[in-house]
């Protein structure tokens, strides 16, 4: 409690608070650790009844994640060459080819980075204009921007689906990039506006006096100053696009499907292959965990559309 700062919270109070928070954090972490652990189980260990906490690690899940397999046909089994072929072979299976996971992951990367790039570029331009010119009705505009995100994605998806179908954009990378850009723009504009607002106008005015054009001043003075803000905005946009599910599941299927709608549908050979699902989830979640740690300082600002800046 801040009140304690008058006297300072007692060491014991601090200790109790620390323990409580740590316990909560560990509980909260358990499902995530379980996902990661399951990725290294064999399929029978994963569905062991009751669940196994201690197990012999295996790369089976990761091999299954990246390959498709079929049962060995007697008489035409070639000797296994590589370590992963051996894992598959020992289960009486053989590899028929790569799985779709790599492709889906790549789609997530392409669509994630593509839409992030576009929303940050467009967002920076718009945010600069909004920041440097007096915009009347600011609060109302803020609410308008917020309102574009209030619509349930499923509701928006109905006309988007029809629109994309008639424009030939359904299940294309371009279509998804445009859609995610539009969804992310509101976030980008408002976050970036906040960041640009914090850059003193005097810098630019000095540049203008030095003979820069307005555009040069923007490019050479404002952009470098806003770099950190732009970077953290970009990460927020990326995380959103990376995690998005509703639009992806409705508007993509084969070509442009991203990982979130794909991962839950990973099934193995005969039964749900939980280690493969867990392996796929782990690979997919790790980058975001890293980003989250990088973003620590700007997290709050990002999740509140810049409404809370501290």
């Amino acid at each position: 409690m801040s009140a304690a700062s008058v006297t300072g919270p007692s060491a014991r109070l601090k200790w109790i608070a620390g323990v409580l928070v740590a316990v909560y954090a560990l509980i909260t972490l358990m499902p995530l650790l379980w996902i990661m652990a399951t990725g290294f189980k064999t399929s029978s260990d994963a569905i062991a009844y009751p669940p196994k906490v201690l197990f012999e690690p295996s790369l089976e899940g990761y091999v299954n994640l990246f390959t498709t397999q079929t049962r060995q046909v007697s008489g035409e089994v070639s000797a296994p060459g590589t370590w992963y072929e051996r894992i598959v072979h020992d289960k009486g299976m053989m590899i028929t080819g790569p799985s779709r996971y790599g492709e889906r992951f790549l789609n997530s990367v392409i669509i994630g980075f593509g839409s992030t790039f576009l929303s940050v570029v467009l967002g920076t331009l718009a945010a600069y204009a909004f920041s440097r010119y007096r915009v009347p009705l600011k609060d109302d505009l803020m609410f308008f921007i917020l309102s574009t995100r209030m619509m349930p994605p499923i509701a928006v998806a109905i006309p988007i689906f029809l629109m994309f179908r008639s424009l030939g954009l359904s299940d294309t990378h371009a279509g998804m990039i445009l859609l995610y850009t539009a969804v992310n723009l509101s976030l980008a504009v408002w976050l970036l506006k906040g960041f640009i607002d914090e850059i003193p106008r005097e810098y630019e005015e000095a540049a203008l006096i030095d003979g820069y054009t307005r555009f040069q001043a923007f490019r050479k003075v404002v952009l470098p100053q806003a770099a950190t803000g732009i970077a953290s905005t970009a990460i927020f946009c990326l995380i959103f696009a990376w995690n998005e599910y509703a639009f992806a599941v409705l508007l993509t299927s084969g070509t442009a499907q991203t990982a979130p709608p794909f991962i839950p549908t990973i099934i193995g050979v005969g039964g749900r292959d939980w280690p493969a699902v867990a392996a796929g989830a782990t690979i997919f979640l790790l980058p975001v965990m890293v980003f989250t740690i990088l973003l620590r300082k700007h997290l709050l600002r990002g999740i509140t559309f810049g409404a809370v800046r501290k």
Partner: protein, 440 residues
């Protein structure tokens, strides 16, 4: 990258093909569900690629999204799939909306005779309207709901004795649904080798078609009919007949008494998991899983056995699964696609299909001497294929299915209302759908 290759292939095919009309290498895409048989088909198709010079691509969609995704593809006249191994119930839509190429002339020209295929698969996978010689697919994968049981548990003398004492008959493969329920009840909550096991893992899934594919096995055998056999689309008194109500009540009773806890949203893969992890004595599932069960390190081999859906008071039927292979009418590679079907229909290929874990519908393969003994599950497969019945295959199948999923799940799993109310409501839903479609 794949798409560009595909487009280039299509463009190349169109350019050269129209000009010369000669056989040229096409890039074919075959669409199916992502499951074990599909991976076997990839392996099988390598022979076709080698023989024909065509390249095969595969688009396999996981079951929960299969219908959504593929029907959407067809409805938007997509060119992704040249060949479609579409679910049996889509045939009406495929035929009426012109998504599939009609096969009669092709079959005649190439000596493919539907009389050579298991009759139930021809009706189920190829014909529309049903019962007329209009073919829109070649039966590709024969599948049916059946049961797997733990033979090792059934054979334990102490369990056999206890069962006999309690039910007055031997612990053996059930001949009726009532016996099946007794067995499930017998195993429910029992300690076997230190773990608690349960009676039967059955279909209860809400999202796609799971509970419907399960409950129909009880409904048919208690007297449920989709419509008046004399008058199409006349449903009251057939869908909600007293027998049908009894069948639905039976399924709920089975779910309530004898299934593993938490099996409220289970379909093919969850029931397998339950069986393989040693939770269940009985497992309802499509026959496609049998090769996998047989090969399983924990429950495979002698430890498991297979039997067709047992009879009920009104007869013995089993829910048909499986698919026919069709040529998509929006494809630019129809000729090459038909070539594939011609190749696939050959008896040698069909035999290899069985050897690799596929399930052929060609009579010559399943009638061959030694077929019934070729695998531990072969006899159960044959018996099951002889008693199949399918869900609606109407163009409005998706809506009909959604209604059934909703009504049945609410009654069986959530325990809302009575069986009579659920089926009455189902008649209303279905009537509305057929009225909207102009069939009523």
């Amino acid at each position: 990258m794949k798409k560009t290759a595909l487009l280039a292939g299509a463009a190349f095919a169109a350019a050269t093909g129209l000009a010369t009309g000669e056989a040229r290498a096409a890039n074919l895409t075959l669409c199916w569900a992502a499951w074990d048989p599909a991976n076997a088909l990839v392996e099988l198709s390598k022979d076709f690629e080698a023989q024909s010079g065509h390249t095969m691509n595969f688009e396999f969609v996981p079951w929960p999204n299969f219908a959504d995704r593929m029907l959407n593809e067809l409805n938007s006249r997509g060119k992704l799939c040249d060949l479609m191994i579409g679910d049996s119930q889509w045939i009406g839509l495929g035929a009426e909306a012109g998504h599939y190429v009609k096969m009669n002339d092709f079959f005649d020209a190439n000596g493919i005779d539907m009389a050579d295929f298991i009759p139930a698969t021809v009706t189920g996978y190829a014909e529309w309207p049903k019962g007329t010689p209009n073919y829109w697919a070649l039966p590709a994968y024969a599948d049916v709901v059946g049961w797997t049981y733990r033979r090792d548990w059934f054979e334990r003398p102490e369990l056999q004795a206890e069962y006999k004492q309690r039910y007055g008959r031997d612990l053996r493969v059930p001949e009726t649904l009532a016996e099946l329920k007794d067995i499930a009840e017998f195993f429910q909550g029992r300690e076997i080798d230190g773990t608690t096991v349960y009676g039967a893992a059955i279909y209860t899934e809400r999202g796609s078609e799971g509970i419907t594919m399960g409950v129909t096995n009880a409904l048919y055998n208690h007297g449920f009919l989709y419509e008046n056999p004399e008058k199409p689309y006349d449903m009251p008194g057939f869908v909600n007949s007293p027998g049908a109500v009894e069948g639905l009540e039976f399924y709920k009773a089975l779910y309530d008494c004898c299934t593993p806890p938490g099996s409220s949203d289970w379909y093919m893969s969850e029931t397998i998991d339950a069986f393989k992890s040693g939770q269940a004595a009985l497992q309802m599932n499509f026959a496609f899983i049998w090769p996998g069960v047989n090969a399983d390190p924990n429950v495979g081999g002698d430890r498991s056995g297979y039997f067709p859906n047992p009879a009920g008071p009104a007869g013995q039927f089993a829910q048909l699964g499986g698919q026919g292979i069709s040529v998509v009418s929006y494809s630019d590679n129809q000729e090459a696609a038909l070539e594939y079907i011609k190749w696939f229909a050959q008896p040698e290929v069909q035999q290899r299909w069985w050897d690799m874990g596929g399930a052929p519908a060609l009579q010559a393969v399943v009638d061959a001497p030694g077929f019934a003994e070729s695998q531990p599950y072969a006899q159960a497969f044959l018996d099951s294929m002889a008693i199949v019945k399918d869900f609606w295959a109407e163009p409005t199948y998706a809506e009909l299915l959604l209604a059934m999923q909703n009504r049945v799940h609410r009654y069986v799993i959530a325990g809302e209302g009575t069986a009579q109310e659920a089926l009455d409501a189902l008649v209303e839903d279905w009537t509305e759908t057929f009225e909207d479609d102009g069939k009523l």
